[in-house]
Subunit: 350 residues, 3 copies
Amino acid sequence: MSLSPKTVSELATLVGGRVHGDGDIVINSVASLDAAGEGDITYVEEEKLLAAAANSKASCVITRLGVDVKVPCRIEVKNPKLAFALIAEVLHPRKQRQPEIHHTAVLSPASKIGNDVFIGAFVCLGEHSSVGDRTQIRAGAKIGDNVTVGSDCVIHPNVFLEDGVTIGNGVILHAGVVIGADGFGYVRGEMGYHKFPQIGTVIIEDDVELGANTCVDRAALGRTRIGRGTKIDNMVHVGHNCDIGERVVIAAQTGISGSVVIEDDCVIGGQVGFGDHIRVLSGAIIGSKAGILPGKIVRPGIWWGIPIQPLDEYKRLNAHISRLPYVRQELKELTERVRILEDQLSTSDE
Amino acid sequence: MSLSPKTVSELATLVGGRVHGDGDIVINSVASLDAAGEGDITYVEEEKLLAAAANSKASCVITRLGVDVKVPCRIEVKNPKLAFALIAEVLHPRKQRQPEIHHTAVLSPASKIGNDVFIGAFVCLGEHSSVGDRTQIRAGAKIGDNVTVGSDCVIHPNVFLEDGVTIGNGVILHAGVVIGADGFGYVRGEMGYHKFPQIGTVIIEDDVELGANTCVDRAALGRTRIGRGTKIDNMVHVGHNCDIGERVVIAAQTGISGSVVIEDDCVIGGQVGFGDHIRVLSGAIIGSKAGILPGKIVRPGIWWGIPIQPLDEYKRLNAHISRLPYVRQELKELTERVRILEDQLSTSDE
Amino acid sequence: MSLSPKTVSELATLVGGRVHGDGDIVINSVASLDAAGEGDITYVEEEKLLAAAANSKASCVITRLGVDVKVPCRIEVKNPKLAFALIAEVLHPRKQRQPEIHHTAVLSPASKIGNDVFIGAFVCLGEHSSVGDRTQIRAGAKIGDNVTVGSDCVIHPNVFLEDGVTIGNGVILHAGVVIGADGFGYVRGEMGYHKFPQIGTVIIEDDVELGANTCVDRAALGRTRIGRGTKIDNMVHVGHNCDIGERVVIAAQTGISGSVVIEDDCVIGGQVGFGDHIRVLSGAIIGSKAGILPGKIVRPGIWWGIPIQPLDEYKRLNAHISRLPYVRQELKELTERVRILEDQLSTSDE
């Protein structure tokens, strides 16, 4: 349950919506359409759910402009799901931890801590590293030397930030994230492999969120970058020297080889594999499990398959493939018809 | 070597088997067929390994009912591999750690610890969290607030359990597991992405085992569930609001998007990718590397490929594809035969 | 910037190269061709980059034998990239940590620590475990009982080494690596799954490097092995009883099921999936995202696809698949020509 209840009118003002019903009703919590009860607000977008919405026990329903749903109280907005998300941010604010530096934390005297910072148990913070105001660094996170963490970040337990990494403001790093481990680059000599230098850095810009156990490698030379507002799911691998733009979305377990550029506003599915030196142009959408060959330029549009093709072509080819048994059958029948013709002609020739 | 040796007769009784040979022989340890020596017990199932079994140096061999193997001592059972596993549980019991709360652990005074619990170094346990009897929480595990961990669990090093998560009895969580991180859900606004509320929880039922670095996200609203007796391998991603049934087996690196339902007794290979809102019906088997489109209902049977098809169809289509060069060749030859026919007819017409 | 600058002549001697220009110039740092400035050394291999090399601001350029580039100072060698890597090792030596055992570390009195060892904060080291000379065990790493870690290793933060594991000399384990968790093996009984014994061990040989969050499971019986000089990227899964040879390279997110053998000098791409009991013969190269069926023997050569095929065949089949629409069109046209022939013949018969 929320710690900061609001009235329907207050919530409507927040999202620029219009109240139909009693604006003084107090809302405690967001809830799904079927689970919502008294004190809850929910939302409905899809036509087929309107009947369910009418039967909902929610105290208030957020609906799309111009949609008529018979409920005692609703807020009409342009984008109900967005309004629901914004309202949830207010009703269920991120857990605030009282500013504290846990007595077990090991902080270098040469580090710099901002105001109202929370540093949990067993945290390490290295030399010449800094943490911005109101940032929370939770238990067991390890931060190396010369690391900059901005303000209003949440660094979850057991995250590791290697030396020299830069984290912007408002960044969320989920548990087990590793940023700045060596990139994967070797040169074969006579006796085996020598490490190609991995002495660059990583820059994570403002408002980025990285899922649990995701890894972002440091650049060989130069930097690996994750742009502002980009959201990355669990167990994604970002290789050395990648440059991921702003507001990019990448689903779980995708792997991005070295020196890949993904421009702003791309959407990448889960378990996608990128060869190195690919450039994905702004606005491209790549479906889950796709595979992209090294060096490829991916233009805007929807892409699918291994190797990737435009979704339309992928579908067309897939349809052709599933028709293969018929092709073979048709070919067999046609061969028989030709054999008959040949027989007829050879007979008529005689 | 085992700390709890047993005689062949005792082991036979344990697994309901029949001894052929000297039941008083003492067995210390399980071993593979080729590595077994004196004091070891091994098993044989496959016909082709019977000769190797006859030459084994094991003190005892577990064999299938009615199979005649010339060894000095054997135990005959219906299911040798299962008997071997059950015997191993007795000869090699899980490492017992003396009950202890390590002096470095940071436990909230408002937490509740059962009897005979082991809590290792650098563990954190938050407010209003509880740990059941005989559970082992190993070094560096971090447990948030309002978490319930049942009895007889093993929480391996560096596991993280986020606030509000519930863990049943007899659960094993391998190192680096993350349970209850935010699900991956955003709503696009004018300025970028807003987090869809991720305020639900996770329930892990009894006797579940999760592999190293596996992540199970909390529900957006409601709960994510892993059912009783389900076994999940390393680095599997389970998205928000998934409902995984009982006795499900999921191999390594599989990724499960949000709101997927996998019913009881399914078997899922490695590196499988699930789109969201899929329902896998009880008894379905999905081959490794398969890909399943969002919203699909997967019926019982064996499934394969991207997108998944019944295994038989997959094999048939694959055979058609590998015959493609011949199809093309046949088509070319047939075209030539038709050309000749056309020539003949045009000549005979003249 | 480097802490150990060298002259061009010293560096040329190190890599067996020949100086063209002023050998007394002092070099501080390696850098990429475009970013290099004064005091930097860079390299050029590709023909198409020679013009860029001529314009580089680097103080020295490493070039291939016999290639003529107009720069004030260069070192000519057989393998510029390898020379660059070797020079980087000298200019940017691995971070040395002053020998120290952090006062927060929890070491069993029955453990054995070599000379000049660094042990960071919140490290655990169990009973009868040993750490070789000059090894660095960074903050939060957890090492169980009866573990052997060789000399000159770097164990990065939050790594976990389970009981009984052996780590050679010169091994680098990146953050979040888990070695020796139970393999994934169960036997189905009437009530559900029983764990197949996972009581073997893991051996990591000299000069191995494992990427962040990679997991290597212990053997069921016997041992899992990673051979000398093998390099493995982030989030790779190595199942129980695998035997990976020497100088093998495995890219990120590849998954290797139980009992797979990969012989020396193989190269495996990212996101590859191996069924169990596969044997990859020395010198095989397997492309990213490939899938290999259980029990398969993979011969030397380049392999691709799901299931894997020789690259040539894969390309040929892919070409056939993309021509499918034309095949269908040709078949349609040919059918029409046959119909016309049939009409003609039936007419001429009349």
